[in-house]
Subunit: 485 residues, 2 copies
């Protein structure tokens, strides 16, 4: 007999064909589809709801810490971007250009925003007058477009992507430094407390900062193929944008000062990293924090006990819903239990509850954890409380597994050969002493396409080795090399 | 002594210069600023937060009624729009065209979405197979661009605007009809229960439907200058999009049918209508439902009683906050109470609480309603409950005032001359018998720029007069003429 669920299931292997497997999970779990134009995707309700839950956490934290949402135009006049290019070395984004409106050619081309510093900064300049206007903290949730020619990988690499971009102005360097770290803390918290992913915190080496930034900080996450993903960035822009766009304030003594500005953002790439980290060859795995449905109740009945089994399952689902659990009852007639199990595993529901005649008779229900299939009976009487606890257990399992992987993938090296060999053989992170010269990145970058993805944040920390692993000069800091997305 | 608040206040008159007054309120209440490109605005936090609250109500109602959010690309290939133009008579939007990506010219131009039927319908076609896949209800919150050359009026007329667009597919005409009315009900509820504005429900005359629609329904709101605003629309698209984009399903008997589709949307024009309806010559007036801050507590102290007055005010603000009221304590040292009153009136805080030494002594607080300045003392002990009640009272006052205005602005007419005279003299709505021929709109449209903004929904209702007011033929229905935005 043909088994219909086989066609629905994942056919690629996470271990052996990570890219193909990822693309298959995204499509078959109905998170996203490819758009007709290369580089674009359609985010389906199952994918968008995960983004909404991520947004809801982060937006709440932002608002609790003085941030207010706003909305700036999606277009930026060419001369605004030019102004930014003149003052910010290295800023030359590839953008989508609007040249015609209706049937007419525009007098000036408009860029679809690749990021909004250049259109937000002039308004900050108008809105900031006195020291009382600072700090000014703005954020917008929007989509941006970067016309980079790359193979489309849903959520990871798309020409249009959803993100939030925070833009803040401050009195002085210290306040801007604290803001940068506060947002980095919130991103770290997002990964660790919401997405069940440990991350490494650090700053980008000076040659890899955001153009114009004083400091770029990052949280980096390890993917199963051994590459690092930049999970979110928080930039201390110093006074470069304030100088370019005249963001000045008058202090209590009537003296005029340049403001210090920051920007910080996380994109839907976080969804890509989430999907890739936890999912497996059965399909999507999501932590209960962001899963659209947290629990599926599957009644398993025969002709002789249908009423009692379905009734028992329905009442359980109602109790869970009343307790605030996002629960679905799958009592479809036209699908057998095996099909249902496979479907909800594919679609990433964290906890399955099986209810059959034995469970009804014994006053129990059977819980099954999505990540590892662990199955165990619990009393019906305490089922709601047990479900809440087991959702936490599932979260903990996902986090622990990702943490164990990460810890095993950070290695040390003391020479160029050792770095190359270790990255070539294992991937992951290699940490080593570094003199701080960007030239020392090249002998690693060229042969294995790995570079310095971050340097630990604390500048006063002792480097792990006294000497730069590449040139042998005095090492001022520790560099983390990795291949990256 | 010069009075600094005079410069901050509104200088234009709502009655005598409605347009200028509106623009001044929007800017001085810090809701929005003009962007550097004509037709675009920057939505500031005070404005965006009102939009977020509107979103939160509506999004909740949508989700409670089976709608799921998604996100489709902001660009639509030219051939997709062409396909829509071929099948949908009258569809020829003026759009912004992206012609270059990075340094290269694109092979095919991309339109920045003016609305998304043409990119969503092809996916509906893929996602709908069986009758079990219906109804399919999608929504997205996004921005759209329409390159119409008009004078910019923040929120009312902008080339880019924020909105939500719902797109649904159904089994048959009846289900699509019910969906259309369900969304119209939700829009009516938004206006009446959230924005404190009564609206008229109806359908657009056939010659003014959305291109390709079977029926376009609308809620219309009256503005203080006597013009009507289309507050939201809900379209039953019949099978025209399903035919053009092959949205078909197989029923239980294995027969194939065309789906019926709907689309429905409300834009930030609702904010414009809200601001224009309730605000006055002192500035912004907002209902407590959407006001970012609902209550401001202003302590009024002298040197000898500062500690007790500010302490009393602070404790009150804390109690209100604990009860879930959005409250602000204005204990600034460098502003006098008169300045503070004017500032918060300008910025539209619905309820002010004044606390001076007399209030402290008497164990009272003084509440002042923003809409009409009504001032009354309440016991401190019951202040939290009183504030909650008075917020409802303020809402009621706003609604009642708008309702009274609307009722006085609906007039009847029995001839062309009477319609022209009434609209010319009073503005507002004129209802009359109508034969249903679009030609009968012209003799009104030309001289006074008024047209049929809606026809009451119930097709079986008796027309108010037996004869068409313009041509004298049998009147099949009642038309509402008005000038409109």
């Amino acid at each position: 007999m043909s088994d219909p669920e086989q066609e629905l299931g994942i056919t690629e292997s996470k271990e052996h064909a990570t890219g193909d497997w990822y693309a298959e999970v995204v499509q078959k779990a109905e998170l996203a589809d490819y758009a007709p134009m290369g580089g674009f995707i359609v985010t389906r309700p199952r994918g968008y709801e995960v983004w909404e839950r991520l947004q809801s956490y982060l937006d709440g934290w932002f608002k609790d810490t003085g941030v207010r949402n706003a909305y700036f135009p999606m277009f930026i006049p060419e001369n605004y971007l030019e102004r930014e290019k003149e003052v910010v070395e290295g800023f030359d984004p590839e953008v989508a250009w609007v040249t015609h409106g209706g049937y007419d050619e525009l007098e000036e081309r408009l860029a679809v925003r690749p990021t909004s510093e250049s259109i937000i900064a002039p308004y900050m300049s108008q809105w900031v007058r006195s020291h009382r206007d600072l700090p000014l903290r703005l954020n917008q949730w929007c989509s941006v477009v970067r016309w980079e020619a790359t193979e489309t990988k849903p959520f990871f690499r798309t020409k249009e992507f959803l993100w939030q971009e925070g833009h803040t102005a401050h009195h002085d360097h210290e306040e801007a430094r604290q803001e940068t770290l506060l947002r980095l803390d919130q991103y770290e918290r997002l990964y660790e407390e919401v997405l069940a992913m440990p991350v490494l915190r650090g700053r980008k080496p000076p040659h890899d900062k955001f153009p114009g930034a004083h400091t770029t900080t990052t949280v980096e996450a390890l993917m199963p193929d051994g590459k690092s993903v930049q999970g979110a960035t928080s930039h201390n822009l110093g006074t470069s944008f304030a100088e370019a766009f005249d963001i000045e304030y008058v202090d209590e003594d009537e003296d005029t000062h340049l403001a210090h500005t920051c920007s910080w953002g996380v994109s839907w790439r976080a969804l890509g990293a989430l999907i890739m980290t936890h999912s497996d060859d059965q399909g999507l795995v999501l932590p209960p924090t962001v899963a659209p449905t947290q629990v599926v109740v599957v009644p398993i009945w025969g002709a002789e006990n249908k009423e009692s089994v379905v009734g028992y399952a329905t009442e359980l689902a109602e109790d869970l819903e009343a307790a605030g659990v996002r629960v679905k009852l799958d009592d479809r007639e036209n699908r057998n239990p095996g099909f249902k199990f496979n479907e909800w595993e594919l679609k990433g529901i964290p906890l399955r509850i099986e209810v059959g005649p034995n469970e009804v008779e014994d006053g129990e229900v059977t819980l099954v954890h999505r990540p590892d299939g662990e199955s165990l009976p619990v009393d019906r009487a305490g089922a709601v409380k047990a479900v809440e606890e087991h959702l936490d257990t599932v979260y903990g399992k996902l986090y622990a597994r990702a943490e164990e992987t990460l810890e095993g993938e950070i290695r040390e090296a003391e020479s160029r050969e050792e770095i190359l060999g270790t990255i070539g053989q294992h991937g992951g992170y290699v940490k080593c002493g570094w003199c701080g010269d960007p030239a020392c990145e090249e002998p690693i970058k060229e042969p294995v396409a790995a570079d310095i993805v971050m340097v630990p944040l604390d500048r006063d920390a002792e480097p792990i080795h006294d000497e730069c692993a590449i040139c042998g000069a005095d090492a001022g800091e520790t560099a983390y090399f990795a291949k990256s997305y």
